[in-house]
């Protein structure tokens, strides 16, 4: 393929990759954080201990995480159609990406919250905080650095998954890499797209870690 053909393809690929990845991450977090928080607070010794909810939610999360992505994608087609009005293209990729990533993120969030110092939660309880206030004012802010690192990990994972966009005719660098590099044996295009992917990941990673470190007030800036 010639350069003047390749360039627009790659530019389009970058745009779509960013579009899918960022939107999917945002929506996954909108869904994943509440689920993760509920998993944490309803767990044993949680501030709102509730065995049944914890178990049911846990199973739902595991369910969504066990289904192979391609099967999930097909299974929720009607849902995808209802949400974004189409079953092809990048928008149609976002829906299954979110459904697949949200439970993963829920588990990451749950893990971050588990690291919040029990003494601090106790102090908040002693002041008469409600579970909601504890979530909002203690758990999430105190776990912020860890949540941010989790987000950095998640966004890269989602970016990886977005390569499967090709399945639904979506685009993005991942799909280009697979379609040209894997199916068409055009290694040079594959190299370029992979290099672009690495750069994007590197940028996300740097930003994520910087933010996490910068907002982490436990770190002594000496």
């Amino acid at each position: 393929m010639e350069f003047n053909q390749l360039l627009p393809l790659l530019l389009e690929g970058i745009k779509e990759t960013l579009y899918m990845t960022v939107l999917s991450t945002v929506f996954s977090y909108l869904l994943g954080i509440p689920v993760g928080v509920i998993l944490f607070i309803t767990d044993k010794n949680g501030v709102w201990e509730c065995k049944p909810i914890n178990m049911i939610l846990g199973i739902i999360v595991n369910l969504a995480r066990s289904i192979p992505f391609i099967i999930l994608l097909v299974a929720i087609l009607p849902f995808t159609k209802a949400v974004v009005g189409t079953t092809i293209g990048s928008n149609a990729t976002i829906v299954p990406l979110v459904v697949a990533a949200a439970p993963f993120i829920a588990r990451m969030v749950q893990s971050s919250l588990k690291e919040v110092d029990a003494g601090v939660i106790e102090a908040a309880l002693a002041m008469g905080s409600s579970p909601l206030q504890i979530i909002w004012n203690v758990l999430l802010p105190e776990a912020r650095p860890s949540l941010m690192i989790g987000c950095t990990i998640a966004i890269t994972t989602i970016l990886g998954y977005s390569a499967m966009a090709g399945f639904v005719g979506g685009g993005g660098l991942g799909a280009i890499a697979v379609n040209y590099g894997y199916y068409r044996y055009q290694t040079n295009i594959m190299f370029i797209t992979v290099a672009l992917l690495v750069i994007i990941v590197q940028i996300f990673q740097e930003i994520g870690m910087k933010l996490a470190n910068k907002t982490d007030k436990r770190i002594k800036n000496s």
Binding site: I70, L73, V74, L77, K81, V84, G85, T86, T87, I88, G89, N91, G166, F167, V168, G169, A175, V178, N179, Y182, Y183, R184, Y185
Partner: protein
């Protein structure tokens, strides 16, 4: 997003076609300019999957798709209670048996490893080709959806490995022989002439497994579909196919 899809459907000048990546999308690329001169915009949606292009066509997201053969479409229609039909046959990809560790079919030893594709249509086709070579026999009713579970007799106790179609050429050195789609064979550095056995262009397979342009029933005579068919079945396309695919893709018009 909602309105966009409906625009596409109602728009008489835009043709949205779902296509397999190679060679389908590449062949479609060749007719973009011709169609443009006639006032049509051709939008190609690439799929590396065999299910979603059909569901999308059935949903009206696509005007047509081009990736499958008739038996697969029939099977899909039956399983999913859909009603899609062929608007035209475009090309045929001869399937071949290629040598890996063992250099001829007659040399195959007891327990030899045979790689075949793992998707429905290609797997069945590969098994049928093996049966035609007298290596195995399949159950009577297995037909075009045969899987390894349908093997009735396997005198050499061949060890059948199901692998992604595009991957087989890369794994050739690990098996004794492999059944490979023509286009993947070529892209993997093989040549159709090296094949130990091949479906010939005038065989029954050629007509059965010709790749078709599928549309929803009732649309086969739409103006834009007709324009697309005309463009695809042109001499330019025939020449493109013959020049570029080295016998791995054969025009059937």
């Amino acid at each position: 997003g909602c309105s966009k899809a409906e625009d596409k459907e109602s728009d008489d000048k835009t043709i949205v076609v779902g296509a397999g990546i190679t060679p389908h999308a590449e062949i479609l690329e060749q007719v973009k300019d011709v169609l443009a001169q006639e006032g049509y915009t051709l939008e190609i949606v690439e799929y590396n999957d065999y299910v979603l292009p059909n569901t999308a066509l059935n949903d009206g997201e696509l005007d047509a798709n081009y990736f499958q053969h008739q038996p697969y479409l029939d099977d899909f229609n039956q399983e999913n209670k859909t009603n899609m039909v062929s608007a035209a046959s475009i090309h045929f990809e001869p399937f071949g048996i290629y040598a890996g560790k063992t250099s001829s079919i007659s040399d195959l030893a007891e327990g030899a490893k045979v790689a075949i594709p793992n998707d429905t249509s290609n797997e069945a086709r590969a098994l049928l080709l093996l049966e035609a070579q007298g290596l195995i026999t399949l159950k009577k009713d297995a037909g075009l959806t045969a899987t390894v579970l349908d093997i009735e007799e396997n005198p050499l106790n061949l060890e059948i490995e199901e692998i992604e179609a595009a991957q087989i050429a890369r794994a050739l050195s690990d098996v004794d022989i492999a059944c490979i789609n023509g286009n993947y064979a070529i892209q993997g550095g093989l040549s159709v002439s090296d094949a130990l056995a091949v479906e010939s262009a005038d065989s029954l397979a050629a007509s059965t497994y010709a790749n078709i342009l599928a549309v929803n029933a009732g649309h086969e005579n739409d103006e834009k579909i007709q324009a697309l068919v005309k463009a695809l079945q042109s001499e330019e396309v025939r020449k493109f196919i013959q020049d570029n695919y080295d016998g791995a893709v054969v025009p059937v018009f």
